[in-house]
């Protein structure tokens, strides 16, 4: 089979810098050579391929758009392209990288003390330390501001109590950035594996993101030293600024999953013979493929434009909401239509499409559900918040 070439109907390549293309190509090659051959096995077993973590670190994608502390210092567009190529492999792989870079390294880099940055960032960039991000609770998903997890000042330490749920990477993590209320104000705390009262039971039974480790964070009188609070941020804007970065990456990542489905659909349609000819020769099938090409191309232009605005420091959370919402939505629809084009074969793990479709159901919900993003835009349009 020919090597995967991506999809670039509008010659978006010409809008990228040489370094951005190099990053895209090296992540694409790694994903094709090292990850694609083993992903179905891991999805079936419900495991993340932890043996690849050192290579992921060596590649340099962890925290690649952060500057200093041995991070990559690349543009946001380069980070987006890396997400696209990783998620073409699997949303679980991209989730691993999003959480590490955007949800754990970013808040330490942005809101942490100098000592915290020195202690964690270089090792996290190499993949020697893995982090997770604890915001969601069993009873507080779309409404994280209502969280119950809280911290108490106890002399030379903080004592944390509460439970976080749906936490990507939690079972693997060496550290967690946990958001908890201190005197009623949301603050970020760094909790380390080994801290008394900290545990991360794995969540089982997922039909989606099976190749991603998801767990709870249980904090039972968890005592941490005072220097583990993130000093520079207070309130919901802390976790929200992390989510903004991750959502940006997802707006590219989803396109990768969509491209994987598009390619598989085109190849399948050209090879599958019904009524004496390839199903690709039927107008209805061509219409589906043309629609996929159309939506992916629009999504690419959206992601690139948001990326350039982010590189200039001019992007708003609403603009990122629109990109995340749109691109995940079309990717999910493309995955479903792709499953349809593959007929019965579409449900087998010989083809990547059902896995992507199932994964994208999670991506549709996490990092702000599709409808929460609609409501964020609704608030921008009308000035009226419909969800708070």
């Amino acid at each position: 089979m020919a090597r995967y070439q991506g999809l670039d109907f509008y010659n978006i390549d010409a809008q990228l810098t040489e370094e951005e293309r190099m990053v895209r190509d090296l992540v694409r090659k790694w994903t094709e050579d090292k990850f694609v051959p083993i992903i179905e096995g891991h999805a079936r077993a419900g495991t993340f391929p932890t043996h690849l973590i050192p290579e992921i670190g060596e590649m340099g994608v962890l925290g690649m758009n952060l500057h200093g502390y041995e991070c990559g210092g690349m543009s946001n567009v380069a980070y987006g392209l890396a997400c696209q190529e990783l998620e073409r492999g699997d949303s679980g792989l991209r989730s691993f990288v999003s959480v590490q870079g955007s949800l754990v390294m970013f808040p330490i880099w942005r809101f942490g003390s100098e000592a915290q940055k020195q202690k964690y960032l270089p090792k996290m960039a190499k993949g020697e330390l893995i982090g997770c991000f604890g915001l969601t609770e069993p009873d507080f998903g779309s409404n994280p501001g209502g969280m119950l997890t809280h911290a108490v000042d106890d002399g030379d330490s903080y004592v944390l109590n509460g439970a976080k749920m749906w936490i990507t990477n939690a079972p693997l993590a060496h550290l967690a950035v946990v958001w908890a209320k201190l005197d009623g104000v949301i603050r970020g705390f760094i909790v380390e594996r080994g801290d008394a009262g900290f545990s991360t039971p794995e969540m089982h039974g997922k039909h989606s993101l099976r190749a991603s480790a998801t767990g709870e964070i249980v904090l039972q009188d968890c005592r941490i030293p005072k220097d583990r609070i993130l000093p520079e941020v207070r309130g919901l804007k802390g976790p929200m600024s992390c989510l903004n970065n991750a959502r940006f990456g997802i707006s590219w990542g989803a396109l990768g999953a969509a491209m994987a489905c598009y390619h598989s659909s085109r190849d399948y349609a050209l090879n599958r013979i019904q009524f004496g000819k390839p199903i690709a020769s039927f107008q209805l099938v061509q219409n589906k493929l043309a629609w996929m090409l159309r939506e992916i191309t629009k999504g690419q232009l959206l992601a690139l434009h948001v990326g350039r605005m982010k590189d200039e420091g001019k992007v708003t959370p609403e603009q990122i909401s629109l990109a995340k919402m749109n691109n995940v939505d079309i990717a999910l629809q493309i995955a479903r239509v792709s499953r349809d084009i593959h007929g019965a074969n579409g449900i087998l793990d010989e083809y990547p499409v059902m896995r992507h479709a199932a994964n994208l159901e999670s991506v549709y919900t996490y990092e702000g559900t599709h409808d929460i993003h609609n409501l964020i835009l609704g608030r921008w349009i009308t000035g009226i918040s419909a969800f708070e």
Partner: protein, 260 residues
């Protein structure tokens, strides 16, 4: 020791190749250019020698226009130290010997002790330049090498000897060695390397800087015309009962295709 690596940019083998017309050649506008795959083996071998402390510096040479800089940057992202691009109007119509003269002069001026190059470039498939460089410099050479050892001022090279056998050549440095597949698996750049490549300068040299003139590199081979290979004749489908067809197929593979 400094190692020189000759690196050529060529169309990716999976790019569709179209001949514009008999005079102007292949239409490169829509073609993706890559490092010649055999040169990637040469670069990797040089980088391995550097990792092992045998080489101190890896200098990459290419002959070509400015768009070849992207390939050189790729080499620096993987770990090469110095980039040299030889560009001169006099080389526009040069043949293998002209390129070899330019590369030999550049590598000699830099004082390299070993030159590594791919056994051939997958665009024109001439497989001449490495051997020519060795002749021009009067150095030892080993071509189509798929295993190499360098130590104590000498080298041992395992090379294809035809009929599936290999010769082991032993020689002293300086030498020119051309690499075949199987010698190593080329590394990919990482993001740190890509960032470093952003700032890496490319030294551009013209013929005069190498002590050569346009006359020195003038082509000895003349190109008559470009054309596409003839279209492949249509395949044949054998009809009949599977057992019968299988028998017939084996017969044809033996008598007609002569592959078994």
């Amino acid at each position: 020791m400094k190692i020189g690596v000759c690196l050529k940019q060529v169309p990716a083998t999976d790019s569709p190749i179209k001949v514009k017309d008999a005079v102007s050649g292949v239409d490169l506008a829509a073609v993706k250019m890559v490092i010649n795959p055999y040169d990637e083996f040469a670069l990797e071998e040089a980088l391995k020698l550097k990792d092992a402390g045998i080489a101190t510096q890896v200098i990459v040479y290419t002959v070509g226009p400015a768009d070849a800089d992207a390939r050189l940057k790729d080499a620096v992202a993987r770990g090469a130290d110095i980039l040299v691009r030889i560009d001169d109007p006099g080389l526009a119509a040069a043949d293998s010997l002209g390129f070899a003269k330019a590369l030999a002069a550049a590598a000699k001026a830099d004082g390299v002790g070993l030159i590594l190059a791919g056994k051939q470039a997958v665009d024109t498939d001439n497989a001449q330049v490495p051997a020519m460089i060795a002749e021009l410099l009067g150095w030892a050479q080993a071509t189509e090498c798929d295993k190499l050892e360098v130590a104590g001022g000498g080298f041992k090279a395992w090379v294809a000897a035809g009929g599936g056998t290999r010769d082991v050549l032993q020689g002293s440095l300086p030498a020119v060695i051309s690499t075949d597949k199987g010698i190593n698996s080329p590394r990919s750049p990482n993001i740190k390397g890509v960032m470093a490549s952003k700032k890496a300068p490319v030294a551009v040299k013209d013929l005069a800087a190498l002590g050569l003139s346009a006359g020195d590199v003038a082509a000895k081979v003349s190109l008559k015309a470009w054309g596409a290979p003839p279209p492949r004749p249509a395949g044949r489908i054998l009809q009949g009962a599977p057992a019968q067809v299988a028998k017939e197929l084996v017969g044809l593979l033996r008598s007609e295709a002569k592959v078994i």
